[in-house]
Symmetry: C2
Subunit: 376 residues, 2 copies
């Protein structure tokens, strides 16, 4: 259930209620692809980082250790020990981005496992079954992620198939949620808007899927190489056709500036590997801009990554020590860096929510989007 | 200051007082070669694992990030944020084991850095200077670690040189501790007994270094490939010549059974990379014996690594989840596994101390040395 608290322009401050607790939105979901956050960050750490939602990957967990194994173990919450809401993606994106050999039909997609090359078939029903086995709080519909750029005609046909797949997802989830052996019988389903960079297809597709009365709606297939302005333009064009009483999720996005701009355009939910991936290379978000901790100038610097940051890493460790750990290839470097960046993202969302609560989001956005994008 | 509390046969229950707190012995020192524990284990984690002493490597820290940098940063305690006692080895062992090109003279050793191939000279004074820069609580004397097997004549000459080096170490530390700019002016010095597997050399060398009235004495050059029985035999032969009022440290040892046997023979202090190294390969110590978590039989096992273990990992995570993380090459696997094994070692020492306090150490040792060595 989506409960709007306050609005500033198109930006929305809301609550999303799940059977694993209430998510305060706008919110960032922390990516645990294989059921674990990169950088040796544990479920306990996630709590300390003020993470609200963990996101895991259907495709990865199906391939290894297997969703049936996880079901036998009581589901992904019990398996990973993360007690808050979990969103699982549908596997669609990975099927199309990780597998070189794939065959797509009306039924679904046949592809090879990236782990052992084994042939796997996944369609809407299979994706729903896997996500039901994982017992996630929110399941994503199985869609086709068309590569950019794509022909208008191909994109159109793909959108139509994705709509047909979505109906099958909805039916299959209704069936699975009705079974007594299902781990989470209140599993929610989000539909995904596609249509490449064609506004007409995006809008038409959004209209179609809005009719299906799902628990939430995502915009997929963006931030895959297109210019940022095109992404913002599509969000602006699509959001008017998204149900006002449902949560909106922009998949795989993005930089702090991207998030600020998408919130301004009415998006509630985000996920991105950027904070953890950048962290592992020493690129850190701070209140003053982006720093590269590999820089020689930090080698004697006993101040925290960001003196204004309240994260467990900045409270204790210095740039000099963390830089040494990174140079010496100590695993602890990765952990501390990832923890800092995840805190930054979660804290950014808290700041956004506070700004919305206090009616000063536009001012906040204007001030921060430049600072947070600047390399210092 | 070493304060004997209780003795059972040759086994000793004692306290070792340092300016960073009291170490309850027998104790295991946790290895943080480059100023960080392997497996992304932080200084905060070490506290949670009941670690008393952290051990760091003079050679590694000299090469990277540099001991002068660490001195500029306020010393290794401030740099690493570990507040308890730190023991630094002298670099001797690494100089002889890591460097392929080295030249030894009365002055010291010239060798190549394993990081960048740079030529480095290290003698007793250099080692003391580096350890003084690091500001460790306990410094180890610079010695020659003779490879096993070695000729009696070479070993004899080496022992004599190591004694001469030890005197130079003692003088240099006295000088450094007298300087106002020295970080830890109460730094302690331990001498190291050498002599390969020759009992006559071991005893003769021990007698010589005992005269120097150092803060503690170590037995070095063992657990480098010789049969365990020979190691025990040497310990038995050397300990009668070690000062009774000084702490005794068996370097780089060992398995739980090795530790139990060495405590029985009068040793107080240990260090070993085994718990963390074995952990990273999935080999875990438990109250019932050694398990290999890679074993397929654990893939659905939702019980902890050791149901009788009180460590933070066993309190929360299952074998099935940790096995998955290890197979999926998630860094979190390494962290959880290393934490468990380090807890096991620190907890073993607590159990040994309790058994000594209660006068049942021999019984405890007899019962546990078999169990802890058994693969189950």
């Amino acid at each position: 259930m989506y409960k709007l608290i306050k609005q500033e322009g198109n930006a929305r401050r809301a609550e999303f209620h799940t059977n694993r607790g209430v998510v305060q939105t706008p919110a960032f979901m922390n990516v645990a692809t294989q059921g674990a956050i990169k950088g040796a960050v544990s479920a306990e750490d996630l709590k300390a980082l003020n993470c609200q939602v963990m996101l895991s990957n259907t495709y990865h967990l199906h391939v290894r250790p297997g969703d049936e194994l996880i079901k036998d173990c009581g589901g992904l919450h019990k398996f990973s020990t993360w007690e808050g809401p979990i969103l699982t993606d549908s596997g669609g994106f990975q099927v199309f981005s990780l597998s070189s050999l794939r065959k797509i039909s009306e039924e679904g997609v046949t592809f090879q496992s990236h782990v052992d090359g084994k042939k796997i078939f996944m369609g809407p029903e299979e994706s729903m079954q896997i996500q039901s086995n994982l017992g996630s709080t929110i399941a994503m519909a199985f869609d086709e992620c068309v590569e950019n750029p794509a022909e208008h005609s191909y994109s159109k046909a793909s959108c139509e198939r994705t709509t047909r797949w979505l109906k099958r997802c909805k039916d299959e989830m209704a069936r699975l949620n009705s079974l007594e052996t299902t781990i989470n019988r209140e599993q929610k389903l989000f539909g995904i808007n596609q249509g490449c960079t064609y506004k007409d297809l995006r809008i038409e597709h959004m209209k179609q899927i809005a009719e299906l009365q799902l628990d939430g709606y995502a915009i997929g297939g963006l931030a895959v190489g297109e210019p940022t302005e095109i992404m913002y333009d599509i969000i602006e064009n699509v959001t008017p056709y998204m149900p006002k009483d449902k949560i909106r999720y922009l998949m795989g996005v993005g930089t702090p500036a991207n998030i600020l701009n998408a919130v301004e355009r009415g998006v509630d939910l985000f996920d991105c590997v950027m904070p953890s991936r950048n962290a592992r290379h020493g690129h850190l978000f701070t209140s003053q801009g982006i720093i590269n901790i590999n820089n020689k100038k930090y080698d004697h610097d006993m101040t925290p990554i960001d003196p204004e940051c309240g994260c467990p890493v900045c409270k204790r460790y210095s740039k000099a020590y963390i830089r040494h750990l990174l140079k010496a290839e100590e695993m602890l470097a990765g952990r501390l860096l990832v923890m800092h960046n995840l805190w930054f993202y979660n804290n950014l969302m808290t700041d956004i929510r506070n700004a919305l609560d206090e009616g000063r989001f536009h001012e906040f956005k204007k001030e921060k989007e430049i600072i947070y994008s600047t390399r210092i």
